[in-house]
Amino acid sequence: MFLLGYSKEARKRRDQLATGVIVALAGFILLVLASLLIYICVQGISAINWEFLSQFPRESMTKGGILPAIVGTLYLALGSMVISIPLGFGAAIYLSEYAKQGPLVSVIRLGVANLAGVPSVVFGLFGLSLFVTTFGFGRSLLSGCLTLGLLTLPTVTAAAEEALRQTPGSFREAALALGANRFQAIRQVILPAALPGMLTGAILALGRAAGETAPISLTSATAYSPSLPDSPFNEAMALTTHIYNLATNGANIAGTRPQQFGTSLVLMAIVLGLSLAAVILRARLRRSRKW
């Protein structure tokens, strides 16, 4: 009796302690995040107005807006998905559905996982030498999209493969037993079931593509552009490189702080918005699936 009561007490105390530690850690992280957000908001909000979002920069980028950078970033992020989604989903389908599971596939999978950890500047350098120089695409949106596409490919592939592997094999069996061939089973049953999970990964990759600096500064970014890009072979401004330029070699580094933070705020809004979309998609997926 005594022992029982004692251990129960102790367990309860340990439980409370652990809970306390976890709550404290979570609180700390939230605090850091919140102060970061608040700081950027406070610093940047004064710069944000309709003109800032809808105008071209003026007077050596000390005045005016950031429209071309917003547009450039959207082009780059979406364009990179045009590359990485078909390739990544295709690779994931091959790896999980067609490839004979064995050492080779394990090595490929490991390679994909490691590719996701390669620093982005390395991708930038690679894109510079392959797309800009060798293929002759020049510094252009196309080169930037291809580079970012490669950069996000491992993330997209790994997330898509995970989603595919989580769809139960019993769906596949059922479709095959009803006279579907392999391709029909994948297209009609497995893909629809896995798609929300696959898209979640793609949206997160989209956010990452929007936030990259080094790869695009090497392959596609221009400091200033008087017009919106009208061809994939145009150079383009981007939010990240715009911040970098204003803060490191702008005409008035200290004086443009509000623009720097304002641009950061816009960038964060885009990236957070994309992540939020991913979270909502995942939540809906969780609710709708019961297998």
């Binding site: 769906f171 006279g179 049953v189 629809p192 079931a193 709708s288």
Partner: protein, 283 residues
């Protein structure tokens, strides 16, 4: 319409040594004529890589009867069942020796079309596995694959299949709802209906009630008893085999030990291993 090749013509050819049919196991015997062999396995052996899962199995399965496969776990019941609709085609490293015929035609011969065989031989799995789609779309999956696309035809297929699976009254008002919102027993009957929508000649069922509660189980059992079609069912539950099957096959370690009318096999088994198993001395 869906393949209408379902005419159960009673083939007049004499069959070899079919044991007495009227063993009256409480069967809805609407197809009572002396049996026609629908599946004939001749000296079938099967390998997963080096491992031999089935050893020299020969068996004649009768049309319009319920045939139960029993035996301890790992004895090869599911393996044999899946051979009958070529579901092993997708498992790399497997090998078959021997011959399996359905209505006299080899299903592994060079002429055989695996997809066609899977349409003629339906399958229901251990766990209910409806697609994450509406009830309607679940049932229509097979017919759509063979090109039935007109709404009126599909409506008719759905109604007929659901009625055949004794589920129509439960779900007729919510055909558009996700099949995953149904109870386990209802889901399993959706899976039965989905298989029936292709009007298969044979239905294979691998422990179809093992994931179900007793009430859902008895509904599925009732359906099997009244279905009046050729059904091969794997079950771990010997009472279930006794309740619903006309003939029972006892498998043990990859071999077919005994096969005969269910009543006979359970009351006077010829083999000692059968007797040990059904009296619960091992397994």
């Amino acid at each position: 319409m869906v393949a209408e090749q379902n005419g159960f013509e009673a083939a007049p050819n004499g069959q070899g040594g079919g044991a007495g049919q009227g063993d009256g196991a409480g069967q809805g015997g609407d197809a009572g004529q002396g049996g026609e062999v629908i599946i004939k396995a001749d000296n079938v052996s099967f390998f997963y890589g080096q491992f031999q899962a089935l050893k020299n199995i020969s068996v004649d399965i009768m049309a319009d009867e319920v045939t139960a496969f029993i035996g301890p776990s790992g004895c090869g019941k599911s393996t044999f069942l899946k051979l009958l609709n070529r579901m092993h085609d997708f498992v790399p490293g497997t090998r078959l020796a021997g011959e399996i015929q359905i209505r006299g035609t080899s299903i592994y011969g060079p002429e055989a079309d695996p997809v066609d065989i899977r349409r003629r031989v339906g399958m229901v799995f251990q766990r209910p596995n409806p697609f994450p789609k509406s009830i309607y779309d679940n049932i229509c999956y097979g017919p759509r694959l063979v090109g039935v696309n007109r709404k009126a035809d599909l409506d008719q297929v759905v109604e007929r299949a659901l009625k055949a699976a004794a589920l129509w009254d439960d779900v007729k008002d919510k055909l558009g709802k996700s099949a995953l919102d149904l109870s386990g027993g209802q889901q399993q009957r959706v899976c039965i209906a989905r298989a029936l929508a292709l009007e298969p000649e044979i239905l294979l069922m691998d422990e179809p009630t093992s994931a179900l509660d007793p009430i859902a189980t008895s509904k599925v059992e009732d359906w099997i008893r009244g279905a009046g079609m050729s059904i091969v069912i794997v079950t771990h539950n010997m009472q279930q085999a006794a309740r619903i099957s006309d003939r029972t096959a006892f498998f043990y370690m990859g071999q077919l030990i005994e096969f005969g009318p269910t009543l006979e096999l359970f009351t006077s088994p010829k083999e000692e291993r059968t007797e040990n198993y059904i009296t619960g001395r091992f397994g």
